[in-house]
């Protein structure tokens, strides 16, 4: 810092003419809502890494089963319980198809003269675990998509109508919602078991019945808060119809809340399916989902740990990444966190 003992001479200053013209000029380009959010998410390294990882998993779910050239349902009794073997890496001494049987290191591939490379090994019926894992991942992705669609369609609509209409309509809709939200998801699935066979359909129906309650509540709360704001009144005064108010004014302002909520229902829905399959009321054999694969692998966990560990890793990756992306989006959209 300069001190007062070396003053700056007056002739170094210049008088700036007072104008009001450039007060209105916006120095930076205006940001749209999505762009603004993107700038924020981009700073969150965990969310970006998660998004890339998740994208990889999604790609693998589509191309994975055809990469290994083995049918995920094809049984082959001559090639059961093989440990993983990957070409290239096998020279490093890991994943070379050897395993300890009774404390002795053995290579089942060499003993049985198997030429193929099963990247993730095979299960007790000789099915290729690599393609089964990715086929199972598809189930998780379907559940994720389903959860998102249900949230968006039923939950958002229910919340919008309930909050916007208010009065008697709101009252009745809230009472119905209260009753539905009192019924745990698991119990709906069990009730479904009585009339349907366990499988993807009963899980889907259960999710349609109960999956949207949280979203409906949040959206209704937000609508109640927003609908009395001046911009809605202004638009109404200008003659806007309800539809326009709902879809042009309210919905865009709700999009942050909707996206955050959807991102958080996705991991819990994926977990739900895996959980059901694990306890035996989800997908049934020979269908593969990550839950059923983990359940199968658990039976022989002591002897063939890879059968359980590989699908477990995949589901953990999916759940951790979706949670982290959800966190990142929440930090990006939540106005409270703005700095």
């Amino acid at each position: 810092m300069k001190h007062s003992n070396d003053p700056i001479s007056k002739d170094m200053f210049e008088i700036e003419p007072a104008t009001t013209l450039d007060n209105e000029i916006i120095a930076k380009p205006q940001l749209s809502f999505a762009k603004d959010a993107w700038l924020r998410v981009r700073k969150n390294k965990a969310a970006i890494v998660s998004a890339v990882l998740l994208l990889l998993v999604i790609i693998m779910a589509f191309v994975g089963p055809s990469l290994s050239h083995f049918d995920p349902y094809q049984q082959d009794v001559t090639k059961t319980n093989l440990p993983p073997r990957i070409p290239g890496i096998e020279k490093l001494g890991i994943l070379d198809g050897s395993q300890k049987i009774g404390g002795v290191e053995q290579n089942v591939y060499e003993q049985n003269n198997i030429k193929e490379y099963y990247w993730f090994g095979t299960d007790s019926l000789g099915r290729d675990l690599f393609s089964r894992v990715w086929v199972g991942t598809r189930v998780s992705l379907y559940i994720a998509l389903l959860a998102a669609v249900i949230d968006m369609l039923i939950g958002v609509m229910y919340g919008l109508v309930s909050g916007f209409r208010g009065g008697k309509v709101d009252n009745v809709m809230q009472r119905v919602l209260e009753v539905i939200s009192g019924i745990p998801n698991l119990i709906v699935v069990i009730l479904m078991l009585l009339i349907l066979k366990p499988g993807i359909i009963s899980i889907t129906i259960a999710m349609v019945i109960t999956g949207w309650v949280g979203m409906a509540r949040v959206v209704r709360g937000q609508v109640l808060k927003l609908k009395n704001q001046e911009y809605i009144l202004a638009s109404r005064t200008l003659g806007a119809k309800n539809n326009r108010l709902l879809f042009r004014h309210l919905l865009p302002n709700l999009s942050g809340v909707i996206i955050i909520n959807t991102m958080f229902t996705i991991p819990s829905a994926i977990f739900f399916e895996a959980f059901l399959s694990f306890i035996g009321i989800g997908l049934q054999a020979p269908q593969a989902s990550l839950g059923t694969l983990i359940e199968d692998g658990y039976k022989t966990f002591q002897f063939l740990p890879h059968l359980m560990i590989i699908p477990s890793i995949v589901i953990c990756i999916i759940l951790i990444t979706t949670n982290l992306i959800g966190d990142g989006l929440r930090d990006a959209f939540d106005p409270k966190m703005r700095d």
């Binding site: 009753v179 009192g182 019924i183 698991l186 119990i187 009585l194 009339i195 477990s312 953990c316 949670n323």
Partner: protein, 310 residues
């Protein structure tokens, strides 16, 4: 307040009524009869059986009978276990489940609050990142994966703790840990956000200005206010403990309600499945009701909002 509680109890009863009714009608529409060797029975024998179980009465009467017996906690008899009453089976198995659930809740919330506190006090340091990362892991890793890994590495490989079964405190340590990870994660995340909010409020600045130490401020002033909203997550925690207990009890072979339930699903023992379903529904709705009422007592703003709704 009384009005709010009464209103909530009415909804609770409606919810339970809906669940039991659905249960009854679904059971009615199941194909087949509950009698074994149906083809060998004569018409007279069938009539006697129908008479005995009240199956010859019109549907509304059967429905009324079923509802009254459920209200008296009579949930029918098991198919598998020699016609034992379901209520008795549940009673025998509730002990281990309650013990596990209680331990997991206690351990989970205490550790979770601690982690959340550390994260908030040392915000944006490695302590914060570490505890947040742990919380994400705890929230993401499915309980059955975690339980199986614990069992294999600590039970089988290291041999530190018994692998499975239920025979004293040491047998409950691993299942408790497996169940507690979700409460830990939820409590830690919640506590961190709440505390950061509270720590930036004026009265905390005042407390600091008065010369209190960091620890004093955190423990005397901040935690109390951050703890109140934590009550709201107890409901979802109870739900997760219930689902978690099924797999964890199955993996560690604990004779609890969850293990019984999973077993009944695989053997199609419908009376037990339905009885347990109703039991779980009652348990969960009552817990959520208690949580809401507690919250209303502690935080008057909720009470007002609840009371003004008609």
């Amino acid at each position: 307040m009384v009005k709010y509680v009464l209103q909530r109890i009415v909804y609770l009863i409606i919810t339970l009524f809906v669940i039991t009714s659905i249960t009854f009608f679904l059971m009615k529409f199941l194909p087949g009869t509950p009698f074994q060797n149906e083809e060998k029975l004569t018409v007279e024998q069938k009539e006697i059986l129908n008479e005995k179980y009240g199956l010859n009465k019109p549907l509304p009467v059967q429905y009324a009978n079923y509802m009254t017996s459920v209200a008296k906690f009579d949930l029918g008899n098991s198919f598998q276990f020699d016609n034992q009453p379901v209520t008795g089976l549940l009673k025998n198995r509730i002990g281990p489940s309650l013990e596990l659930g209680f331990q997991a809740m206690l351990v989970g919330t205490v550790i979770g609050i601690g982690l959340g506190l550390l994260a908030a006090m040392f915000q944006n340091t490695w302590i914060d990142y570490g505890s947040t990362f742990l919380a994400v892991l705890g929230k993401s890793i499915p309980s059955f994966v975690f339980a199986a890994l614990l069992q294999y590495y600590i039970g089988v490989k290291l041999g530190w703790l018994p692998v499975a079964a239920w025979d004293g405190f040491s047998y409950s340590i691993m299942p408790t840990i497996a169940l507690a990870i979700f409460p830990v994660a939820t409590a830690a995340r919640f506590m961190r956000t709440e505390l950061i909010d509270v720590l930036s409020s004026d009265y905390i600045t005042l407390a600091k200005a008065k010369g209190n130490s960091r620890m004093e401020v955190a423990f005397k002033h901040a935690i109390r206010n951050a703890l109140i909203p934590l009550i709201t997550v107890l409901g979802p925690m109870a739900v997760s403990l219930m689902t978690g207990s099924m797999v964890v009890e199955q993996i560690f072979a604990i004779p609890g309600i969850g293990e019984q339930f999973v077993k009944s699903i695989t053997t199609n023992d419908f009376p037990i499945i339905m009885g347990t379903t109703i039991f779980f529904a009652v348990l969960l709705t009552v817990i959520i009701l208690i949580v809401d009422i507690l919250y209303g007592i502690i935080d008057p703003r909720i009470r007002l909002a609840g009371g003004s709704k008609k």
